[in-house]
Structures are given as structure tokens and as C-alpha cells.
Amino acid sequence: MIGDLLNATVLIGIASSGIQLATPYLYASIGEMFGQRSGVLNLGVEGMMLMGAFTAFYTVHNTGSLVLGVLAALMIGALMGLAMAVISVTLQAEQGISGIGIYLFGLGMSDLLFQKSFSQIVTVRGFPTIRIPLLSEIPVIGEVFFEHNLLVYVAFALVPLAWFVLNKTTLGLKIRAVGQNPQAADTMGISVARVRYFTVTLGGMLASMAGASLSIALLNVFQQNMTAGQGFIAVALVYFGSWRPGGVLIGALLFSTVNALQLWVRTKGIDIPAEYASMAPYLLTILALVFASKRVDQPAALSKPFERGD
């Protein structure tokens, strides 16, 4: 049965669904990466994703407008990011723990709102698949890369964009400076707080989009705890990708492809227990973390609150 895997249609299917499944990771991880590069570890991504997923779903269900759905998700994400920024930057709280607080808040709140507004599980009409003209005609590559919904394309476009912002703009330089050496950045006249507020709020918006990409594009339903740990993996992927957009992309793709493979194994009922296949991504992450730790590119000020010395 493993032989089935070598079949072209199966391979294309797995690759294509790998690309799709990478989408939420990309949004969340790129957003988280900005926060971490500026020195803030936001562990509340999972909660923000859930809130984004619900908000987008609710808006689309009630207005039928996908644009409004995305806007609503961005807004709630910005709010939650702002809250995290207040907690971690202004109030200088322990970031790991406050992130767990944000997670529990989002987990409970999205569930609460869902139960209050829907009496049963319903679906919405999400983002349709857009076949890119000409490119989607290319055999194999067309099917794998150019037959997705809009949010998938945007997610992948974010990667070079994030790279450009981080490495080629003044803003990016400020972000890196604040994450590497906040004291020096402060002396140079960069407002550490302002930069971190910006990155954490952006991270919240992108985490929220990650949730939306599940609820109004990939699955088109909302269920309580529907992200099932993806937000936490997104945080790990930032370490995996050693705080670089390209690394995050590779991590996200690797992870999602293993996931797609795992889903395929599941449907085939192959003798590899599906649960072991499901474990694989997590084991892989731990292994990746072991290797990632050998490198020294972790932002020096990661998860350390900054306070001006006297």
C-alpha cells in the first residue's frame, strides 16, 4: 500500500494539500517572528487564532462578505495583539505565562461566543479556489501551486515581503536592533516600546488571519478549539526557522507536508497507526529545536522585558 504513495495523483494531492495546510502556520509564524525579532515571545498565538477564526466566521456567516470577515479578523487580532503588548511591554509581565493567559482567554471566549451565537455547527461559503490563468495550466506544478484560494497566495507572498521589511527597511533595522540590544537601540533614540507595540500588534493581526484562513477558507466551519495546537506549533516554527522568513517557510512546508501525508495515511487505513503519524510533526519539532539551539541567531533580548535603566 505504501506503493500507492508513488502514484502521481496521490503525490500531487499531498503536495497541494501540504501547501494549503501551510497557510495558517505561515500567517501565524511570520507574525510571531516579527514579535520575537523585536524581543517579545507571544505565546498567546493559539488564543488569537481562535478569536480570529471565530470573528471571521461569524462575520461571513452574518454578512456574506468575505472582505468584512477578513477586516473583522484583522481588527480583533490587532486588539488582542495590543492587549499582549500592554501586558508584555508596558507592564513587563513574564511573557510565557501571560501568553498562556491570552491562550485560555481566547480558547474560552471563542467557545463562549460560538455557543451563544450558533446552536449547531454550520458552514459558510469561504474563499473560492482561484486558478491562476496560464500558470495553473502547467502540468503538476500548476495543480500543486496555482489552484488555491486567495488567502493561500497572500500567505506565501508574505514571506518575501517579511524578508524585505526585516532586512531592507529602516523599520526592519529598528526591529532587529530592539530585539538584539534594546539598551543600545534606546540610546540611539529608537523607542523600544513603540517598536514592540508595533510588532506584537502586527503579530496579533497575522495570528488572527491564521485563524481566519482556517474558518473561512480552508475548512469553512468553526468549532471550539478548532486550531488544536497549531498556534503553539507556529511559535515553535519560528525557532525552527531560526527567526528568518525563509526558514519559517521551510519549516511550515515541512510540517504541513508531514501533516498532509498523515491525513492521507489516515484515510488509507494503512498499518502505520494514524496516531503515530500524527505524533510525527511534534517529534519533528522537538528534533528541530535541538538543532536550532545549536545556532546562535536567537534574538538576544527575546522574552526579556525592557526597562530604561536609571
Binding site: 507592564l91 501571560s98 482567554f105 463562549l112 503553539f232 515553535a236 522537538i286 529545536l289 539551539s293
Partner: protein, 403 residues
């Protein structure tokens, strides 16, 4: 000894332990606004919450039963956080602890004496949790893997492992033949039930003359030995952390790993140890859930259905108890009460009990945010002490003041 606190304005010492209480009040206030938005009367709702938690002896028993895993996970968190290690793997550690107790109970011969059976299973659950935590500890100490991330990954791995084992190896042979195939074990033999303590309590009450000789007060409740064990362990952990050398070293490593290394403490070893112990206590919580409450292990509803999110909520209880094992006792009861009361809230006022999760999240956020004031005061304390006796080096004063 923390001499500097003697120079503190008395007010601060009063307020300090009250901060978590303010945090809870603030969370309840936000909850009240949310209830209003949901067209529910906050007073009615909170009354339902209170009655659900303390309104009857069954409610009180339920609250204590729910508090037990929170307390066990919480005192483990006290150890790890004091040791400077953030263990968010309570969920996974509870699950492997539960699995170990279950597997052993199914393997041991039926003739095993109850005392031995209980002891072995509890030890197995502790050991399994300790291994699960120790993995993260070793990864942190020797491979510099962030323990927050590794414990979260280990949580997921434990969940899938549980689902696998309960669908295959451990599944009740009878259920395996049925079409529905509920992924759960058979009910464990009776000698693996943690004893109920209701009758003992009633005997105590009668002895104290609080109830008549034929009254049954607690005997009808499901209250089991777990809470007693947890409280004893909380006291033990307090003694361990503050009255033994190993405990002192754990705290020293948490306060200042570099200074500890210069003082000759093997920092890495103590990082592993604190996660080992922390995981072991969470594993024990899992074992006690199996042997005291459910008497079987079930994978239905996934990981959260088994742990009741206690792996995370225990962190809240510990933070609330100022990372002090004794303080964690009332904190666990409080959060146990919130969880039990939440069910009544859902029944009586039709407000989903997810509200409780929101409130707990808010409590964490408020508690950690209020730490800023505590730190600011600690620094003020340093400034005060620096003007003190000149014969002590300022570093040691700063370390003490940071307590």
C-alpha cells in the same frame, strides 16, 4: 533571611498577598460585564456559581475533587518555577501518569492487596510523569531547547499516544468487539480505587460531636483520598523547597543560575531535577484522576476530557498562591470551585461554562501584570538597604531583596 522586608512599610506586606485577590476581583468584574452583555444578571449568575461550588455537601466534595489535580500540578509548578523552569507540560504529564497507573492496574494480578496495588499505581504514575517532565528537563539542560516549547510538543505527543493505546493495546476487550468501539479501558478492579474518605470524616465529626451518631454527612459523597494526599504533599514540597539543601539549590538556580554555578551547584542537574519533580507531581495528578474519579482511562473527548485542562489551570493556581505550596492549597480550592460552579452556571443561567476558562485566562493575565509593582517595590527595597550596614557587599543584598 529576608531582613530587608522588616524595613518595608507595613502596608506593602499587607497588600502583597492580596494582589491575586484583586486580580480575581478584576476578572470577576470583567465577567460581570460579559454576563450583562449576554443578558444574564451577574448577581444571579455568580450566586449560581457559588452555590454550584459550595451550596451542598456534594458540591463541596466536588469542588475538593476538582481541586486535587490543580493542587498537585500546582505544587509541581511551584518547584519548577522556583527553579527557573517554566513547565507548561502538565497536560501531557498528567496523561502519561494516568496511562501508567491504568496499564499497571490492568497488568497486576487481581489478588494484589489493595494497599500494595494503590502504592504501586501511584508510584507508577509519578514515575511516568517524571520521565515526561525529565525529557523536557534534559532537553533544556543539555541541548538548550526552550522548555515551554518542548513541553507543549510533549503534551500533543502524549495525547496521540493515549488515543493510540486506548484504541488498541488497552481497550476493553468487550468494547473492542462492539461496533461503537469506545476507546476506553474496562473498569479497573476495585482494589485500585482510592478509598473514599467520607466515612472517616463522619467518624471524625461524630467524635467532635458535630453530628449525631447516625447522621451521614460526607459518607454519601464521592470525596476520595486524593485531596488528603495532595495537601500532605503540598506541605512536603514546602519543607523540601525551604528546609532542605536540595530545595535551596533549586531555588538558588532559579534566582541566579550564574551565581549558583560559581557557588559550585551543578545547575544543569537541578534544571532536570525541577522538571522531573514537577512532572512527577503532575503524573500523580493523572494517576489520582484515574484511581479516584474515573476508575478507567478513556480517550473520548481527547486530552482535555481527561485532564480537565488541569495542566494549565494548575499553573494559575500556583501563580495565585504566590508560587508557594501552602498558598497553592486555597488557590486550588478556589479554582476548583470556579470549575464546578461553572457547570451550574451553564445549567441555571444558560451561560456556557466556557466563561470560566475566560475568567481563568484573565486572572493569569492580571496576576502576572501586577508583578510589575512588586518588582518596582523590590528595587526600592534595594535602594533602602544600600544605605544600610556597609559591611555587606551590595550584591548579596540585591539577591536577598529580590526574594
Amino acid at each position: 533571611m529576608d531582613l530587608s522586608s522588616f524595613r518595608n512599610p507595613r502596608l506593602y506586606r499587607l497588600i502583597d498577598p492580596l494582589l491575586p485577590l484583586f486580580a480575581t476581583l478584576a476578572a470577576l468584574l470583567v465577567g460581570a460585564v460579559m454576563l450583562l452583555l449576554m443578558n444574564a444578571n451577574p448577581i444571579t449568575a455568580y450566586r449560581a456559581l457559588y452555590e454550584g461550588a459550595f451550596g451542598s455537601k456534594n458540591a463541596v466534595a466536588d469542588t475538593l475533587i476538582k481541586a486535587t489535580p490543580l493542587l498537585l500540578v500546582g505544587i509541581g509548578i511551584c518547584i519548577s518555577f522556583r527553579g527557573g523552569v517554566i513547565n507548561v507540560g502538565g497536560e501531557g504529564q498528567m496523561i502519561v501518569g494516568g496511562l501508567a497507573a491504568t496499564a499497571l492496574a490492568l497488568e497486576l494480578p487481581e489478588t494484589t492487596s489493595p494497599a500494595l496495588a494503590l502504592l504501586l499505581c501511584l508510584a507508577a504514575s509519578f514515575a511516568a510523569g517524571a520521565i515526561w517532565g525529565g525529557i523536557a528537563g534534559a532537553l533544556k539542560a543539555y541541548f538548550k531547547v526552550n522548555e515551554i516549547l518542548s513541553t507543549i510538543m510533549l503534551n500533543q505527543i502524549a495525547i496521540y499516544w493515549m488515543i493510540y493505546l486506548l484504541n488498541n493495546t488497552l481497550i476493553d476487550p468487550l468494547k473492542a468487539q462492539q461496533a461503537s468501539r469506545i476507546p476506553e479501558t474496562a473498569r479497573l478492579p476495585r482494589q485500585f480505587d482510592l478509598p473514599r474518605i467520607g466515612e472517616w470524616l463522619d467518624t471524625l465529626y461524630k467524635w467532635l460531636g458535630l453530628v449525631g451518631p447516625d447522621d451521614k454527612l460526607w459518607a454519601t459523597t464521592l470525596l476520595h483520598l486524593g485531596i488528603v494526599l495532595a495537601v500532605i504533599l503540598a506541605i512536603a514540597v514546602y519543607i523540601f523547597l525551604w528546609r532542605t539543601t536540595i530545595g535551596y539549590r533549586i531555588r538558588a538556580v532559579g534566582k541566579n543560575p550564574r551565581a549558583s554555578r560559581y557557588a559550585g551547584i551543578r545547575v544543569k542537574r537541578y534544571v532536570v531535577l525541577s522538571l522531573l519533580l514537577s512532572g512527577g507531581l503532575a503524573g500523580l495528578a493523572g494517576g489520582i484522576q484515574v484511581m479516584g474519579v474515573r476508575h478507567r482511562m478513556s480517550a473520548e473527548g481527547g486530552g482535555i476530557a481527561f485532564t480537565g485542562n488541569a495542566g494549565f489551570n494548575g499553573i494559575v493556581a500556583a501563580l495565585f498562591g504566590q508560587l508557594h505550596p501552602i498558598g497553592t492549597i486555597p488557590a486550588s480550592v478556589l479554582f476548583g470551585a470556579l470549575l464546578v460552579g461553572g457547570n451550574k452556571l451553564q445549567r441555571d443561567v444558560q451561560v456556557p461554562s466556557a466563561l470560566i476558562t475566560v475568567l481563568i485566562g484573565l486572572v493569569i493575565i492580571f496576576v502576572v501584570s501586577s508583578e510589575l509593582w512588586r518588582r518596582r517595590r523590590a528595587r526600592r527595597r534595594v535602594i533602602v538597604t544600600e544605605a544600610g550596614p556597609p559591611d555587606r557587599p551590595p550584591e548579596s543584598q540585591a539577591m536577598e531583596a529580590g526574594r
